[in-house]
């Protein structure tokens, strides 16, 4: 297939954007500076779906964070879905991996095109009524989530094994090369310590499914399912970047089978579907195709959304809200539901969080883990503090710095150190001094609050028929911020003898109790 310089330019742009996003991804890590020097969550600051979630959430729109998303929307209304063809890292991944997995050329039922609009409309309606699930289908969130939770941990694990092997087995020629390249990998290309995440496999399977859909049809996801593509498609209805000729030429019809988006029809170009890949400028045997700036023709074909479908989508979206609301209050049902420091109140948090996994990537204590059902049916992939896996570092404010939608407020260090995310509770049936009469003060030693939130108190205890003087730990409620290092470090095997519950979180409005209907 002949390729024009436009195609090369597009490929360069895709590779460049992918490289930038991957580089920013690698920078989403503590590298010795408390304040991250780069806008690492750029991918979501240019994401119109993240902006939509923020816009529909309570409170003012986060202009300072999300203005780039509005620029993307503006440019899309002028030029069309350039984002899908030239910028989107998931699109670039699909284009890049397509050859590897094999590319389907089946002409899929055009009815499927409507699915992405229904998805967008349904999710939008649900968001409007307070249940924000845009992040589950946001391609950028899917991309970064898969990278954070699955690909990057696997990549680190594999690389470490390779380095270990060549370190342990001294192969001539190979081992010295591998060993000498290790500092480069360690300092720039690998994680400080092996990332560990729940839901890694689950997240990866979804990513894999989207990639394998390439076997059915090129860019199956982008054409049929992507709600971001649908949003950009709606915006590009009156774009002034026009393709000539608009419709299939009577003598050739090559575009009918070759256009990856299936956007060129007899009736004309379906603007909302054209990904601006510009391949047609190359493969056109007559070299007729060109792009230029012109006003849109009066009668352009679009995707007929069908009133019935739209109404069904709106109705299902609206129905989600009451279906969720009649469930129990999640943080009361699950006392171990702990959110990162700076999290806004749970209901608003769920409306703002786009499940992008940036906070989980950057967390240096490895405490942030994606939720499956711990945060209720709509809390999938939202960040949880899981202290038995890792703890919230006292001197760290990174998660608030990377959150693109204000679900986690950026806290100054002094604020963060006063921000209560939970409360440690000692389990006397597990704790060594209480349960076994064995001396232990590990939790007290690790407690990072300036004035210890766990204190040891001497007491006479009857152990095995004898009175012994033992030091017993006690949590000072007003000093504990719930960082969970005590739960992480507790030497008792299995379930920790000290556990953090979400009692007394800073983000929960306590005045409700006093000023409520009963107060």
């Amino acid at each position: 297939m002949k390729q024009s310089s436009w195609t090369y330019a597009r490929r360069f742009s895709q590779s460049f954007c992918l490289a930038v996003f991957l580089w920013l991804f690698l920078q989403t890590e503590y590298r010795g500076i408390d304040q991250l020097p780069y806008p690492v969550s750029l991918l979501f600051r240019i994401d119109p779906l993240a902006a939509l979630a923020d816009f529909l959430a309570p409170g003012p729109f986060g202009w300072s964070l999300l203005w780039p998303a509005l620029v993307v929307l503006l440019l899309t209304s002028l030029f069309g879905r350039f984002f899908c063809g030239w910028v989107c890292p998931l699109g670039a991944t699909l284009d890049g991996l397509g050859k590897l997995v094999g590319r389907g050329r089946r002409a899929f039922s055009p009815g499927w095109r409507r699915v992405k609009y229904y998805l967008l409309i349904g999710l939008g309606a649900a968001t409007l009524f307070g249940v924000q699930l845009l992040g589950l289908f946001d391609p950028l969130a899917i991309f970064l989530r898969s990278l954070t939770l699955a690909v990057y941990p696997a990549y680190n694990y594999g690389l470490n094994k390779v380095f270990d092997f060549f370190y342990a087995n001294d192969l001539p020629l190979v081992s010295p090369v591998v060993k000498n390249s290790y500092p480069l990998f360690r300092d720039y290309l690998m994680a400080f310590h092996q990332p560990i995440f729940a839901l890694g496999l689950f997240t990866f399977l979804i990513f894999l499914t989207i990639v394998l859909l390439e076997r059915v049809e090129h860019r199956f996801w982008c054409k049929n399912l992507c709600p971001l593509g649908a949003l950009l498609g709606l915006c590009s209805r009156y774009a002034i970047l026009q393709r000539t000729p608009q419709r299939l030429c009577a003598d050739c019809q090559a575009c009918d089978s070759l256009c990856r988006a299936g956007a060129v029809r007899n009736a004309g170009l379906i603007r909302s579907e054209c990904l601006l890949c510009m391949d047609c400028t190359g493969y056109c045997p007559e070299e007729r195709v060109s792009f230029g700036l012109r006003h849109a023709a009066a009668h352009e074909p679009g995707i007929d959304l069908q009133r019935r479908g739209v109404l069904t989508a709106v109705a299902s979206g609206i129905m989600i809200a009451p279906a969720v609301r009649i469930g129990p209050v999640t943080y009361e049902q699950n006392p171990y539901l702990i959110r990162p420091p700076g999290a806004v109140a749970e209901e608003e948090f769920l409306q703002r969080c786009v499940r992008c996994a940036e906070c989980m990537k950057v967390c240096i204590g490895r405490t942030l883990q994606p939720a499956l059902l711990e945060a209720g049916p709509v809390g999938l992939w939202t960040p949880l503090v899981v202290p038995r896996i890792g703890y919230c570092e006292y001197n760290c404010t990174l998660c608030g710095q990377v959150c693109p939608t204000g679900a986690l407020a950026p806290l100054k260090l002094a604020e963060k150190q006063k921000n209560v995310i939970g409360l440690a509770v000692i389990k006397k049936d597990r704790c060594l001094p209480f349960a076994k009469g064995i001396e232990c003060l590990v939790c007290e030693e690790h407690c990072p609050t300036g004035e210890k939130a766990i204190v040891m108190e001497e007491q006479d205890v009857l152990v095995d028929g004898q009175m012994r003087r033992l030091k017993l730990p006690r949590v000072v409620d007003k000093l504990c911020i719930g960082c969970g290092i005590c739960e992480t470090k507790c030497p008792v095997e299995g379930a920790s003898a000290v556990r953090v519950i979400n009692q007394g979180e800073s983000r929960r409005k306590r005045t409700e109790l006093l000023a409520g209907p009963y107060g």
Binding site: E445, P448, G450, E451, K452, I485
Partner: protein, 88 residues
């Protein structure tokens, strides 16, 4: 007692104790600057117990108040009576 057992198995010829900065409360993690004392002191001794015994005085304690020092002296790992130690 476990610490003194360690010391009885692993013998040291010279003990160096860094007391440049000492933390007087809320250690070992989470200390505050107000609990930090800058002493700029180094203790060096061939006798591990004597070194520890002297270090207790930096915290305003006496060697007898620290059980590990007492246990070590009882085991004959060194001298804890600072009067018997020659300071240089």
């Amino acid at each position: 007692e476990s610490l003194t057992e360690n010391a009885s198995v692993i013998h040291s010829d010279q003990t160096v104790l860094d007391a440049t900065r000492i933390l007087k409360a809320n250690g070992p993690q989470g200390g505050r600057l107000q609990h930090l004392r800058v002493l700029d002191t180094l203790i060096a001794s061939p006798d591990i117990v004597a070194a520890d015994a002297y270090a207790t005085t930096l915290f305003g304690l006496s060697p007898e108040q620290v059980p590990t020092v007492v246990a070590a002296a009882r085991r004959g790992l060194g001298v804890m009576d600072l009067k018997q130690v020659r300071m240089v």
